[in-house]
């Protein structure tokens, strides 16, 4: 059994200092790892990433993150990543990491993901180059996510995203903006490769719980949805058959 703590959309800045500290410094009491589902900063200023790293200092569990669209706003996403990695946060951008947590292994495939919408109401690679590029970006990230998840040979596998792979966790948002909140291509990739759990953020007015068409649980852990310092998901072991005489 592995206990995964997760939170997204904490949007750190100087004025955020101390908001999460009292809860985060006790993370090790209730979880084995903390996953951050993007929008870590207010607008991608490396100083904001430093403020977040200070808040996470010494919490006693590994921290793994993906970046969100806010980290891209000022074009300093690489510096944000460097700050966080220097301070011990593993940042996944189309990458994987494997953790040994008390003898059980957890594989995490992380990507920001992107938009495009959902089956029956989505963007297509048609018309203007900008529209084609929009869809192409999501296709590329989804293909990488699929490869990365499939490459993980661990006891448990988690997909860590910023954008949503399903509509269910967007319920509460206006339907008109669903194409900017996620894409079914991400869900398709997860269902093809398999995972125990998908975590994402981005949709502040969305809902916590959903599921992919293939049956993988999806959780929107955006802070405005959870309103807690983090949520905890306990990944159970497969039940072993009793030996018979």
């Amino acid at each position: 059994m592995i206990r995964v703590a997760a939170i997204g959309d904490v949007h750190f800045s100087e004025d955020s200092r101390g908001r999460f500290r009292a809860q985060w410094e006790r993370t090790h009491e209730s979880a084995d790892v903390l996953l951050l589902a993007g929008d870590l900063t207010q607008h991608g200023d490396p100083a904001q990433a430093e403020a977040l790293a200070d808040e996470l200092e010494g919490i006693g569990v590994p921290v793994v993150a993906v970046l969100g669209n806010h980290e891209h706003h000022e074009g300093h996403e690489e510096q944000v990543r460097q700050v966080l990695e220097r301070r011990g946060v593993r940042v996944l951008e189309g990458e994987v990491t494997t953790l040994d947590l008390g003898g059980r292994t957890l594989g995490i495939a992380g990507t920001k993901g992107f938009g495009g919408g959902f089956v029956g109401a989505c963007c297509h690679k048609f018309g203007e180059p900008l529209m084609k590029a929009f869809v192409q970006h999501t296709e590329e990230l989804a293909a990488r996510l699929r490869e990365n998840l499939a490459s993980l040979d661990t006891d448990h596998r988690v997909a860590l995203l910023h954008y949503s792979p399903v509509e269910a966790t967007l319920v509460g948002e206006r339907l008109e903006i669903y194409p900017f909140l996620g894409s079914y291509l991400l869900g398709e990739a997860i269902d093809a490769a398999g995972a125990d759990l998908v975590l994402h953020g981005h949709a502040h007015r969305g809902s916590e719980k959903g599921v992919t068409p293939g049956g993988v649980p999806v959780r929107n852990v955006a802070f405005p949805v959870l309103r807690h310092a983090f949520a905890i998901y306990q990944l159970e072991e497969p039940r072993r058959l009793a030996k018979t005489a």
């Binding site: 809860q23 607008h43 000022e74 007015r205 807690h228 998901y233």
Partner: protein
């Protein structure tokens, strides 16, 4: 609401989204009898006030009613069991 007021809301939401002081895409705005009503939630009192200040800059002749709520960080709850 007049057409001018309608488009003003659109432009204010554009600025609130992209301005580094706010970076806020989920503020709902209404105009009622010359007053801008701001609704939504944010992380700190400082950000709540900054949003209002930016709106005042954009519409200095209008009243502003700030109903944005500051979210408290609650302790984590019990773990959810995710079956294999």
């Amino acid at each position: 609401m007049t057409s001018d007021e309608h488009y003003l809301i659109g432009h204010i939401q554009d600025v609130l989204s992209a301005d580094p002081r706010t970076c806020k895409q989920d503020i709902t705005i209404y105009i009622r009898e010359g007053t801008l009503w701001l609704m939504g939630q944010t992380s700190t009192e400082e950000r709540r006030q900054t949003i209002e200040s930016v709106v005042v800059e954009l519409a200095p002749d209008m009243g502003v009613r700030n109903e944005i709520r500051v979210l408290e960080v609650l302790p984590p709850t019990e773990a959810e069991i995710i079956p294999p």
